[in-house]
């Protein structure tokens, strides 16, 4: 079982690298949706406790929300804002992938030192979660397109979610579903906000928004 979970975590990291290296917004969204589905599968198997109805419920909600609903909302935002498909990076794609590898190295180093890793028992879970977390942050910082901010937030949340599933099993189902709901509302609000930003300024480039401050 551990071996399979390790493979899941490797896929998670590969998706992170893909997100950093891909130059098209739509492909990015597809990758994030795949990552979401992977998290759904991980929810069922990624911990030592048995499979209960509660866990199945959370897994199904994750799978559907992260795998289908979020990508759909994001794609709709692209359509409504007439956003270009290019991500317009501050940091080039090859450089981003190299940065991703550095983040992975840092995550492996951190993961080996955190007491959390030994508590979970599967060595790759914490590094993979941290890498996903860092990737989300990196996407928020290093891309101009406002939709990527939203995407980065989703990826960041994915990272937290992995640790949540693996480590803290006793969170009540309501809280977990609440977090998922929060995230989906955030995506929705962001979509609306982007639509309005686009209507007002004809573009959604974040580096030009700072001219707004009075």
């Amino acid at each position: 079982m551990t071996a399979y979970i390790e493979i899941l975590m490797m896929l998670l990291i590969l998706f992170d690298m893909a997100l950093l290296g891909v130059s098209r917004l739509r492909t990015c969204i597809t990758v994030s949706s795949l990552q979401g589905m992977l998290l759904g599968v991980f929810t069922v198997f990624g911990h030592t406790h048995g499979i209960t109805l509660r866990i199945l419920l959370i897994a199904a909600a994750t799978f559907l929300l992260k795998g289908f609903v979020f990508p759909r909302l994001l794609r709709r935002s692209i359509r409504e804002a007439n956003a270009g498909n290019e991500l317009e990076p501050y940091v080039g794609y090859s450089m981003s992938v190299i940065a991703g590898l550095v983040m992975l190295g840092a995550a492996l180093w951190l993961g080996a030192r955190l007491p959390l890793s030994s508590a979970i028992g599967i060595p790759l879970v914490v590094p993979a979660a941290l890498t996903t977390f860092f990737t989300g942050l990196f996407l928020i910082i290093a891309r101009k397109n406002a939709l990527t901010q939203c995407l980065g937030y989703i990826i960041l949340e994915n990272g937290i979610y992995v640790i949540g599933v693996a480590a803290v099993v006793e969170i009540p189902v309501l809280v977990e579903l609440g977090i998922l709901l929060d995230a989906s509302v955030a995506v929705l609000v962001m979509g609306v906000a982007i639509y309005h930003i686009n209507r007002e300024f004809d573009h959604i480039e974040t580096d030009r928004l700072d001219t707004l401050k009075g």
Binding site: M10, Y93, S94, L101, G105
Partner: protein
């Protein structure tokens, strides 16, 4: 030194040009053509060897050395790589470094020969070749380092004898090596071997001025290079048959056939990448290797 080691060498030398034929046949079948004969590369090499060579007066001995060194280095590389468990004639500890850099030496001389002609096209090709191989080299070496670390040996013969794909790290390495294979052998998506436009060529443009036996050497050297890189991939992918060399040669041939068909499928399925995108793909291959290396290091 065993007889089987030389069988392995002779086998590679005879079968190497076949790889090209299988790739072309696969592409032709998918496109609905009959395609060129399976043994076309042999005919081409034979034809070129019979011809006389023309040398430009502006070239020096470097131009003539290029194809010879290219072929010699490919032969050395062939002597280092075992045929899926059948020991290589030139096996020693650390030969995987020799393998990587003897191919590098061959490339260096091809590039020098190209620059020696003073043609701007060949200069461009040389520049691209060096740039791409500089990016492909870390992917290859780190991939090999990963397998070496995993198996605890630095000799290709021992390394291939004990590996088969039994861990996810090796899958990552194989993916990286496949990208390196396509790049080093100037296949789509890096370079289109059938192109006739010098501006977009990489490998073909460097050898435009070679003729006759020299060009035959280059074609044969390229076939050998594809064969050795391929047998590295097959060696890591398939379990080795250490005790029986006929079986290991058959499994190598089968694996090579599969690899050639795979390359044919890739070439039929996609166009070559824009030159700007090529480094990104190579960086991705490097990233796969680094990732695998980090996984075996922890």
């Amino acid at each position: 030194m065993q007889l089987s080691a030389f069988t392995n060498l002779a086998f590679g030398m005879v079968c190497a040009p076949l790889l090209q034929g299988i790739i072309n046949r696969t592409k032709a079948l998918i496109a609905g053509r009959t395609g060129q004969p399976l043994l076309q590369t042999y005919h081409d090499i034979y034809k070129n060897l019979r011809k006389g060579a023309v040398y430009s007066t502006t070239t020096s001995w470097l131009f003539r050395a290029g194809p010879i060194v290219g072929l010699a280095t490919a032969l050395i590389a062939l002597a280092v790589v075992p045929a899926n468990g059948c020991a290589a004639p030139l096996a020693f500890t650390g030969d995987l470094l020799l393998f990587a850099y003897v191919l590098g030496l061959g490339r260096f001389f091809t590039v020098l020969a190209a620059l020696d002609t003073g043609s701007s096209f060949e200069g461009m090709g040389a520049s691209r070749e060096v740039f791409f191989s500089a990016l492909a080299e870390p992917a290859l070496l780190l991939g090999l380092a990963t397998v070496a670390r995993k198996t605890g040996t630095l000799s290709l013969t021992e390394l291939i004898a004990v590996t088969s794909v039994n861990s996810p790290e090796l899958v990552l390495v194989l993916a990286a090596l496949l990208i390196v294979f396509l790049c080093e052998n100037a296949r789509i998506p890096f370079d289109d071997p059938t192109t006739h436009l010098e501006l977009t060529m990489i490998h073909e443009v460097m050898v435009l001025d070679h003729s006759g036996p020299d060009f035959g050497f280059i074609q044969y050297g390229a076939a050998l290079k594809a064969w050795v890189l391929g047998s590295l991939i097959i060696g890591i992918l398939l379990p080795a048959f250490e005790n029986s060399w006929p079986l290991s040669l058959v499994s190598l041939l089968g694996g090579m056939f599969g690899l050639a068909v795979l390359v044919g499928l890739i070439e039929s399925g996609m166009a070559r990448l824009r030159l700007l995108r090529v480094p990104q793909l190579l960086v991705a291959a490097g990233a796969l290797s680094v990732f695998a290396f980090m996984l075996v290091l922890r």
